[in-house]
Structure formats: structure tokens, C-alpha cells
């Protein structure tokens, strides 16, 4: 049968106005339901007719999923809060600027106005083979087209590849890992909370999805503990275009420096692996060391140990090395 890549397929549109109603609908429809937040990932899939869900659950009418709640414990951000709201929020800018920095460089202003935090962390990979509807592992097939002798893989993974070499495209995810955020997931069975880094899964565990959400699960909020409030933050995203582009790489870190030494640090990178990657080896190695250029140098070198470049993405190794170095020691101009 011929392939056609335009015009959304017909589906039942369900628009719940509460989380309880949403989880009931998701439970009722199971794997046949498609959750839509801002729609920026969803509409691509739908208009390409690659995904044809029976039911689309549109979360835009659920007020309780929106908003930023500041307390002494930290900040809770509703999953449907737009990226623009987060970027502009004074408390986040003041105490958790790594997150406002990260979301303010997502895509373009129009997309940030529509895109949500829940959507940003739950979006699918942008591997061009997969998004083009090629029947790769991730799409249920038996091959990774990007990782072949002639595959075009400039934007693909240098770490964590397991058959699939796609990368996670989120800008906010590494910032949330750096902030030790907790993801709140609701389903008909109840509520559970997972650490930010455990929200994401690699192809070794499940090659067909990027996060732990199963049928019936709904990400409702992201909680940022106060533990890293006001820490020294770093976020840098490298992309081809200055706007409307996914990261070639981004690195986020939260660091506390006492008496010139790093007392504690969390650091993560995205677009280097199929899941946002927490760099525990770097964290361990630099803790207790001075936050200076030589520690940065060491951290950068450590970060790329074990990296496996593909034919066209070898640049990601020096890029990651330098970004991690900057996370520790700052950019050279500032040094």
C-alpha cells in the first residue's frame, strides 16, 4: 500500500478537565491512547500518519497540571506549564537558573509558548530515520539505519547506544537531573515519584520508548527540591541554528563550591546518548577538588572516556570534553 505523509488521521479526541478524569480515560484506553501536551511532538507523528492512535487525550484543559508552585521545599512545576512561563518565572530565574536557562533556548519563542515541560521531557527522539517512518528497531523493526557503514549519523549518540544510536533531544532534562528533580507520575493505580534520571530509559532496556511511562501513566508534575537552590549553575546548548534547533549537545550542572573546592556537584548531558546522561564519574572525580581549569580539564577528559563515535559524529567528543570542562571551570573568558 502506498505511503502518504500528510493529513492527520481520524481519532477520537478526549479532553479531560481533571487529572482523575485523564487517568481514568488513559486506563480505559490503554495502549490505544495517545497523550498530547503542547502537541509539538504529537502533531508531527500524527500529520505524518506514522502514528495512528484510536484515541487522543488532550491535556490542555486540565488546570491542575499547569502552574508553578513555590514553597520552602522547593518548586513544583505542573507538567502542562509552558516553557515560556518557566523561563520567565522570577523564583526559577533566581534560584534554579539552570532550568530557566535551559528552557529559554528550546526551539523558538512560538514553540516555547506552546510547548510544556512535561512534553519537553517526554518527547520522542528526533533521529531522522525514525522520524521519517523507517522501520528501525525503535519503530519495531530489526535494524538501526543510522548505525550502518553509510548511515548519516552526525546528530547521533556517542554513549549508551544499544542497537539504536538515537539521542534524547530534551534541553530541560539535563537541567532537571542536575537539580535532582523528582517526576510525579499518576495512573489509575495511584501516584509514584521517580528521580529525574530514572524517568529516562535507554534502548538496552526498552528500545521503543525513551521514558518509563507505560500505558495509563501520566506525568503530572516535576518537583525541584530546595537542596540546590542558589547553587552555581551552568547550562550550555550547542546547536547549528541560533533558534528553532534541537541540541547537538547540551550540558547542565549544579555545583556548590566551598573555600574554592567543589563540595558537591550534579552534572548531566543530553544529545550524547539515548537517554539524558548523568555523569556520575565526573561528579565523583571532581568532588573535593578545586573548581579550576585543571579540574575542568580532568573532568572533560573523564567525561568522554568510553565514548564510541560513529562515522559523522566524532566532533561530539571534543565538544563534550569542552562543555564539561566549562561546567567545572567556566568559559575561558570568564576564567
Amino acid at each position: 500500500m502506498a505511503v502518504f505523509r500528510d493529513v492527520m488521521p481520524a481519532f477520537d479526541l478526549l479532553q479531560p478537565d481533571s487529572v482523575a478524569e485523564a487517568t481514568r480515560l488513559l486506563d480505559q484506553n490503554g495502549a490505544g491512547a495517545w497523550i498530547m501536551a503542547g502537541g509539538l511532538d504529537s502533531f508531527d507523528w500524527l500529520k505524518d500518519r506514522i502514528k495512528k492512535p484510536q484515541v487522543l487525550v488532550d491535556l490542555s484543559g486540565i488546570g491542575e497540571l499547569k502552574g508553578i508552585r513555590v514553597s520552602s521545599d522547593g518548586v513544583e512545576i505542573g507538567a502542562m506549564t509552558t516553557l515560556t512561563e518557566i523561563a520567565d518565572h522570577p523564583a526559577i530565574q533566581k534560584n534554579y537558573s539552570v532550568l530557566s536557562d535551559a528552557v529559554s533556548v528550546v526551539a523558538s519563542p512560538q514553540i516555547r509558548n506552546q510547548g510544556t515541560l512535561g512534553g519537553n521531557v517526554s518527547q520522542d527522539t528526533r533521529c531522522w530515520y525514525y522520524r521519517g517512518g523507517w522501520p528501525c528497531y525503535r519503530a519495531g523493526g530489526n535494524i538501526c539505519y543510522a548505525d550502518t557503514p553509510v548511515g548519516r549519523n552526525r546528530e547521533h549518540a556517542i554513549f549508551g547506544a544499544d542497537r539504536c544510536v538515537a539521542v534524547h533531544p530534551s534541553d530541560s532534562a539535563p537541567a532537571l537531573i542536575a537539580l535532582d528533580a523528582k517526576f510525579v507520575i499518576r495512573s489509575a493505580k495511584g501516584e509514584r515519584t521517580v528521580d529525574a534520571e530514572d524517568y529516562f530509559i535507554g534502548p538496552d532496556v526498552d528500545i521503543t520508548r525513551l521514558n518509563i511511562l507505560g500505558p495509563g501513566d501520566l506525568l503530572t508534575a516535576i518537583r525541584i527540591p530546595a537542596a540546590w537552590s542558589g547553587a552555581k549553575f551552568y547550562f550550555e546548548k550547542i546547536r547549528d541554528r541560533n533558534v528553532w534547533d534541537f541540541p547537538l549537545m547540551n550540558v547542565a550542572s549544579a555545583m556548590e563550591v566551598n573555600g574554592g573546592s567543589i563540595s558537591r556537584i550534579r552534572i548531566a548531558a543530553s544529545a550524547v546518548a539515548p537517554r539524558p546522561m548523568r555523569l556520575r564519574n565526573v561528579e565523583d572525580a571532581v568532588t573535593g577538588k578545586p573548581a579550576n581549569a585543571s579540574t575542568g580539564e580532568m573532568a572533560g577528559n573523564l567525561a568522554v572516556q568510553g565514548a564510541v563515535p560513529l562515522q559523522f559524529n566524532g566532533y561530539k567528543i571534543p565538544l563534550m570534553r569542552n562543555l564539561v570542562k566549562r561546567a567545572i571551570a567556566g568559559a575561558p573568558e570568564a576564567a
Partner: protein, 843 residues
């Protein structure tokens, strides 16, 4: 060079920049074009905005493979679906046939040319069939129910790979377009393979140079290299870049009283009619073509594209209007592209930087249909812009199973400048010369010569060139010397770099018609067959007629965009010809109208025509006395009839214009004229482009911090529009440098980057906030208004100014291909040599 030309150079040097609009009432002044309000308020109607009663929609099924044969189509299930009205298959599309247009020109059938639907698709995305239904959802669901059985055929998507021994050819007939013997201008296909020995140099990062079927030379190239102080031999590849017009080629069609009414966006209203008639195998007078607004063309919509006949054929078959909307993905496939060129260029330099010889070898990618002239234009532009005293050019144009190519702003010229400019920059560094100074010694001027000797033994030459002044003025405005002196270049990980590039392209044609009517109400109605492709030139050119008539612009109406409204034979808005060609035609019809007004006044009020003058919507005796308003003159013209009201027609004008004049006869004073002004030489426009970049060597990311395009385009007609052209087309060039590209998986020959976020055209934030432009405003001496076009010339300069600034910042061992991104910079800067394979296609 002739003695005459030497005199011209002396004159050229004396020319100084002039203020815009000096000596004119309309020309050189800013104003709002007649279509502007509709565009900014959304009331402008593009093809997709039209509706007709009972209109059906049609959508296309595209070839999934780069080369295949359709063996069987089973649409039974689709046709049985509610709402599906019919399908159109390749056997229902008129085939290749000879065609004689209304101008009497014979267009020979070309069996290699594209048809609207293909039963042997030559590229992935080529339309195979169309389905019409009551709505697009039904079309989509119907297409998914159609079985298309295809046999995959051998394919090749990489031109160099196609020249390897034993590789597959794009077509059964061969892989290389070889020109037929003169005087034919056609080509034929041959199978050409180079040897393993030819390819041996590939290992050194150099482009192999095997047999090339096209070649010319002039001067003593070998002596030029022998006498050179420095010889550089560089390999460089330019990227295939899609046109990406914001308005895809959506088309609506219906039939009424035996006439085809067709709505789509093109670069020419008038010249698209014969194209439609030829593709439909029908007479031109049965075609009504409507194209009021076009969302960009860049050379890809010059006279429309074959796919526009699909709704016309379906409409005829189903007896209902049919709208064919084209998605962004479909536009990527059928929307044309610039051919990428792989080049090996050897250039000799004297100690002062003067080029002594230039030897250029090109592999041009022709894509899936027909040959193209980009390789040839590349050489012509090189020979003009850098004036090498001796030059050899060799070229091989290779067919591949990739998207069909067409002209894209500065076809060949953009590639030439991107290929040669980095070599000039490298030479300046090696010779210890200032970049501007090296370009100044090689700069063309006056009636500069270009290309190989013609059959008469003489080389072609331009009408005029003041590029040296543009370079000097530009360097001054850009503070070039101060920027060069600024230290340090590197602060932390950030390194600054400065780039300058020369740029040129054709600036116009001649010989078209103007048509206007002075109405009995006293208004001046100017008819235009130019396509409104988004640039303001299509209105600006008529200011030349209004200027001659000395009428306020408010009294002028422009009628365009619908061939039923009696339009004249106009140029198409391609090749930067509009401003040049149509200000000439406008000037001609303005003069013709003035003369007829005077004659009407003389006949009505007595005396000789020469006793009268035309100004401010009146024709009156010189020095005061009897006169009449334009309204009165138009009424008098109608009474007089004959040549005055269009019942007789100016015999010099084109057949299409004559037809329109006949339709307008009796509606007022009808004036038509053909541009017969002489000119010696070809019109070219020139720019000097300057850029500064700041590169972060730790991330490879660079920012363009400043840009200036300084133009030598003759008289400035509409400053704001010219600024838009210079900066807009510079941005197109910058796009080539910084990111726009194709990505094709060679195993399947299938593109993986058909969306904007994947093929990365630049955004407004990728260029400096405050890009600057300026122009000399020195009139071209060989055209009455003095104006030349500026659509194409900035493209190569925009690209190369950035490339040169990058190599100024980072050294010569960074890039051998465009686009240059952080991957190129990071890996090469660290290794100290270019790390990206310059020859591999579509990465």
C-alpha cells in the same frame, strides 16, 4: 581588450557614488508598493486561497525509491471509498511532443524531460499518481489503499560515485550529460567511468580529475602557472540546496467554456501560459492563468512546474474544479534545488596578488532530469569576477537519482564565488597581502571581459562595472582597516575573523514590452505580465514609465496577476532581469505614451506634437497655453481610434502584447512599446561583501557579528526594496555557508532531511541584527534608466564573506566544503587539517 574598452575604464574610475533619487521624482525614492497592504493584512490571495464551487481536492502518491518502474497500480479499493472521485495515472498525462508557441518558436520534444507523473520515477518523491476526492482526509486514506507495485532499478545519488568504475548509472542511457556538437545547445547522455588511477588522489583529500566532456580555455595557462609566485591547488565542494519557497507549488484548476483556468504561484504570469499549453498539448489562447501573489521562487518557479497540470487534467477528467495542495515534504521533493559542485581549482598568483592563471575542474550534479548550466556559469562568473589573464575550464555534468535541479539565485555564480574566494583568502595570507588589496588588483572594471572567445574570436564583455568603487566604499563603511588592526583576535576561546568577498551575476535582459492605458477617468493603468514572486521589483519597474510620464504615483494603477486582464509580454522574474529589462520596457512605453498624448493634443488643439509637453497629468503647449488633462486626452484618443486607442497596434510589440492591445482597444489611450534601446555588452551587477565572525574554538559555534553588502547595481530604483534584495540574497548565500543542506542515505538513495528543522535553512537570528547595505547608484551607461538587477549577485558574496572570515579566524585548514558547522570546525581545528571528507555527497 579594445581601445574603446580602455577608455571606458578611465571613465569608470572617475565615477563616484551618488545620492539615491538625485534628479528623479519617483525613481530612487522609497514608497509602499501597491500589493503591500494586502500582503501584510492577509487579504492577498495566493493559489491556495482560491475556491470554486464543487471543488475537489487532490493529493499525490510519491515514489518511495530513487529509481524504479511502476509495474502495477491497483486502485480498486481506493476508488470504492466514499468521497473518492478518481485517480490520475502516468498514462493519462500528455507525453513528450514538439510544440510551437504563439511567438512561433519551436520547442523540440525532449524524451529526457520530466512529466507531471512518472511511471519510471527517477528520484525519491517523484509523483506517481494523484487521487481526487471531496476532501484531503479522504485523499490520504484512499492513497493508503492503493497498491503500487514497483521494481527497483539501479540508482546513484552521488555524482563522484557515479564516475567510479563499475558503479550504477542514474539512467539506463548513461550517467553524464555530454553537449551535442555545435550549433546544437542540447546534450545527450553517455556512460562515463573514470579509472581507479583517476581516483587514486582521493586518498590525499583531492578531487580526482578524469575525462571531462566540456572544456574551454583562453590565454597561456601553463605560462601563467610557470610565472606565478604562488600556486594553490584546492578541492572544494558546494552543497545541493533546495529552494524551500515558503509557498509550496499548490495549484487549483477548472475548465469553463473550453478554457482552462489555472491558479498557482510562478515567477512569470505571462510566460507561464505557453508552458501550461505545452505541457497540456493545448492552444495558448485557451489558457487563463492567475498568479496574483507568489511566496518565493528563487528560480524554481520561473514558468511553473510540470506538476501544475495534474489538477488541470483531473479537473477535465472529473468535470469539477480541483485543488492540489502541496505539503512541505512534497515541496521538498518537487520544489527543485541548486546543483552541488565539486571543484578542483588551481590558481597562480603574482607577488602582488594578481592572478596569473586559473585552472578549474568541476563535477556538477545534474540531478534526475536534464543537464544544467551551473558548471558553465561557474566558469563565466569566475573569469569575469577575478579577471584571470589565462584560464582553463573543464566540466562534467553527472546525472544522479536526486531531486531535479533548476536555476537558483545566481546559478553557477554562487558556486564559483564560494569555490574561488577561499583560495584568494589563502593566497593573501601566504603572500602577506591585505584581503581587500588582493581583491582590488584582481577586480573587474569598466567593460570587463569574461568567458572564452566566442566564435568570432572576441570575448564577451559587460556593459559597465564599478566594483572597485564598491570595494573601496564598502571597505571604508565597514572600517576594514581599523577592524584588521584591532587586537587581540583571540579572547579566551573566542576568535574574531574578517572576510571580504567580491560577487557578481547577470543583471538583466532586454527586448520586452510595456503596455499602459490612460483611461477616460484620467488614471494611468499599467499592465504587467511579470510574476509577483515577493520582491517589489515587479511594481518598482513601472515607476520608470510613471517617471517619463511625470505623473504622481497615486494616479497609477498596476494590473497584474491574471492573463484574462490583457497583460503584455514581460520578462519572467528570474535571473535578476526584471529591474533592468522592465525599466527599459517601462521607459519605452512611457516615451510612447508621451508621444501619443502629444499627438492627440496636437490633433485636438492644433499645432505639432513637438509643441506640447506632458507633466502632472496634463498635456499642454510648452511655455503655457492650451492643454488637456489625461482624462480629456484619453477621451480624445478613443474618438481618434486607430493607434491611439488600440485599434491599431504598435507593430514592434510581441504577439502576446498585440493580443492584449486588441482586447483593450477603445478603453482609453492605449500605448504599447517594445524595448529597442541599444546596449553594447551584457549587463552584470556587482557587490563587495564584508563580514565579521566570532568563533568559539571550544564549541565550534560561530556568530556572524557584522555584515555589509555594497552594491554596484546602476541606478537605485527603490532603496528599501534594493536593501531587502541585497540583505535577503546575502542571507541566502549565508545559508549555504552556515547550514542549509541535504542529507541522503546512500544505501536507499532516500532523503532523511526533508523538514526545515532537519535541512536547516537559516533563521533571522542566524544573521546579524543590524546587517548593512549600500549602493553606488552610478547609472549603467547602456540602459536608459541606468538600473540593473540585484536578485542574484549578493548570494555568492554572502556565502564567501562568511567563509573567508572563518578562515581568517581559524586558518586555512578548516573546511573544504560548505556548510561549515561546529562539527567541521571542532574536528579540523583540533587536528590542524580539514577533517571532513570534501567529496562525499549529502552528509
Amino acid at each position: 581588450m579594445t581601445e574603446m574598452a580602455a577608455v571606458e575604464i578611465a571613465k569608470a574610475e572617475d565615477q563616484k557614488p551618488r545620492p539615491f533619487g538625485a534628479g528623479y521624482k519617483l525613481i530612487g525614492k522609497d514608497y509602499s508598493t501597491n500589493d503591500l497592504v494586502a500582503k501584510v493584512t492577509g487579504t492577498a490571495k495566493y493559489a491556495e486561497d482560491f475556491r470554486a464551487e464543487g471543488m475537489l481536492f487532490c493529493r499525490l502518491a510519491l515514489s518511495p525509491m530513487p529509481h524504479g518502474r511502476v509495474k502495477r497500480i491497483n486502485a480498486e479499493k481506493a476508488l470504492a471509498m466514499p468521497g473518492v472521485r478518481g485517480i490520475l495515472t502516468p498514462d493519462e498525462v500528455p507525453g513528450h511532443a514538439n510544440y510551437v508557441n504563439d511567438n512561433g518558436t519551436m520547442i523540440k520534444a525532449d524524451r529526457f524531460s520530466e512529466l507531471a507523473l512518472a511511471d519510471e520515477p527517477m528520484y525519491q518523491g517523484e509523483p506517481i499518481l494523484a487521487v481526487a476526492a471531496v476532501d484531503e482526509l479522504t485523499c490520504a486514506e484512499a492513497i493508503e489503499q492503493i497498491e503500487i507495485e514497483m521494481e527497483p532499478l539501479p540508482f546513484n545519488t552521488d555524482p563522484l560515485d557515479s564516475l567510479r568504475p563499475g558503479s550504477a548509472n542514474a539512467r539506463e542511457e548513461g550517467n553524464v550529460w555530454v553537449p551535442n556538437a555545435a550549433p546544437s545547445r542540447d546534450s545527450h547522455l553517455e556512460a562515463v567511468k573514470w579509472t581507479d588511477d583517476d581516483f587514486a588522489v582521493e586518498k590525499e583529500g583531492k578531487m580526482p580529475m578524469g575525462h571531462a566532456p566540456e572544456e574551454w580555455s583562453y590565454g597561456d595557462v601553463d605560462a601563467g602557472f610557470r610565472n606565478a609566485a604562488l600556486v594553490l591547488d584546492e578541492t572544494f565542494s558546494t552543497e545541493d540546496v533546495s529552494h524551500q519557497c515558503l509557498e509550496p507549488r499548490t495549484t487549483m484548476a477548472y475548465w469553463q467554456n473550453g478554457k482552462l483556468y489555472l491558479y498557482t504561484g510562478t515567477q512569470s504570469t505571462m510566460q507561464t501560459v505557453p508552458a501550461i499549453a505545452r505541457w497540456m498539448h493545448m492552444p495558448e489562447d485557451k489558457v487563463v492563468f492567475v498568479s496574483e501573489y507568489t511566496g518565493g521562487g528563487f528560480g524554481s518557479k520561473i514558468t511553473g512546474a510540470q506538476t501544475l497540470v495534474i489538477p488541470a487534467l483531473l479537473s477535465k477528467k472529473l468535470n469539477a474544479p480541483v485543488m492540489m495542495r502541496i505539503s512541505r515534504e512534497e515541496e521538498h521533493f518537487i520544489g527543485r534545488a541548486r546543483p552541488g559542485i565539486r571543484a578542483r581549482t588551481k590558481v597562480g598568483f603574482a607577488r602582488d596578488g594578481r592572478i596569473t592563471a586559473l585552472d578549474m575542474f568541476l563535477v556538477s550534479d545534474a540531478g534526475s532530469y536534464g543537464s544544467n548550466g551551473d558548471g558553465g556559469a561557474c566558469a563565466q562568473i569566475t573569469s569575469l569576477l577575478y579577471q584571470p589573464p589565462a584560464m582553463r575550464w573543464r566540466n562534467i555534468t553527472v546525472a544522479t537519482n536526486t531531486l531535479p535541479r533548476s536555476a537558483q539565485s545566481a546559478p553557477g555564480g554562487m558556486q564559483a564565488i564560494a569555490i574561488v574566494e577561499p583560495i584568494l583568502s589563502k593566497a593573501a595570507r601566504k603572500l602577506g597581502l591585505d584581503q581587500v588589496a588582493l581583491r582590488r588588483v584582481n577586480c573587474p572594471e569598466g567593460k570587463a571581459e569574461f568567458g572564452p572567445p566566442r566564435p568570432d574570436g572576441k570575448r564577451g564583455y559587460v556593459t559597465s562595472c564599478f566594483l572597485k568603487q564598491a570595494l573601496d566604499e564598502g571597505a571604508r563603511q565597514f572600517n576594514w582597516d581599523a577592524r584588521v588592526a584591532r587586537q587581540p583576535k583571540r579572547v579566551g576561546s573566542k576568535v574574531r575573523g574578517l572576510g571580504v568577498a567580491l560577487s557578481t551575476y547577470h543583471g538583466g535582459t532586454s527586448g520586452f514590452d510595456g503596455l499602459l492605458v490612460v483611461t477616460p477617468e484620467g488614471r494611468v493603468q499599467i499592465y504587467s505580465g511579470i510574476g509577483n514572486l515577493g520582491t517589489e521589483a515587479f511594481i518598482d519597474v513601472h515607476r520608470a514609465a510613471a517617471e517619463v510620464l511625470d505623473v504622481p504615483w497615486e494616479a497609477v494603477d498596476i494590473i497584474w496577476g491574471d492573463t484574462s486582464k490583457n497583460l503584455p509580454y514581460s520578462c519572467h522574474s528570474g535571473g535578476s532581469q526584471t529591474i533592468h529589462a522592465m525599466t527599459r520596457a517601462g521607459h519605452a512605453v512611457g516615451l510612447e505614451c508621451v508621444q501619443r498624448l502629444k499627438e492627440v493634443a496636437a490633433k485636438s488643439l492644433g499645432g505639432e506634437a513637438a509643441d506640447y509637453e506632458v507633466a502632472n497629468l496634463r498635456v499642454a503647449r510648452k511655455g503655457g497655453g492650451a492643454g488637456m488633462s489625461f482624462a480629456q486626452a484619453a477621451q480624445a484618443a478613443i474618438k481618434l481610434g486607430g493607434i491611439y486607442d488600440g485599434h491599431d497596434v504598435n507593430p514592434q510589440v510581441n504577439g502576446y502584447t498585440k493580443h492584449s492591445v486588441a482586447q483593450l482597444a477603445g478603453t482609453g489611450l492605449v500605448a504599447s512599446a517594445r524595448d529597442t534601446f541599444p546596449h553594447d555588452g551584457d549587463s552584470f551587477s556587482f557587490l563587495a561583501c564584508f563580514a565579521e565572525v566570532e568563533t568559539d574554538v571550544e564549541t565550534g559555534k560561530y556568530t556572524i557579528t557584522d555584515y555589509l553588502g555594497y552594491a554596484d547595481v546602476g541606478t537605485v530604483i527603490h532603496p528599501a526594496a534594493l536593501g531587502g534584495q541585497i540583505l535577503g540574497r546575502s542571507t541566502l548565500g549565508i545559508a549555504h555557508a552556515i547550514g542549509q543542506k541535504w542529507v541522503i542515505d546512500p544505501q536507499y538513495g532516500v532523503t532523511v532531511a526533508e523538514r526545515f528543522y532537519q535541512n536547516k535553512p537559516p533563521t533571522i537570528l542566524d544573521v546579524p541584527v543590524d546587517m548593512k547595505w549600500n549602493a553606488l547608484n552610478i547609472p549603467d551607461p547602456e540602459t536608459p534608466v541606468g538600473a540593473r538587477g540585484c536578485g542574484e549577485p549578493p548570494v555568492g558574496g554572502g556565502c564567501s564573506a562568511i567563509l573567508n572570515a572563518l578562515s581568517d579566524a581559524l586558518g586555512d585548514n578548516i573546511y573544504q566544503r560548505v556548510p561549515v558547522n561546529c562539527d567541521t570546525i571542532l574536528t579540523s581545528f583540533e587536528a590542524g587539517r580539514p577533517m571532513q571528507n570534501p567529496l562525499l555527497a549529502h552528509i
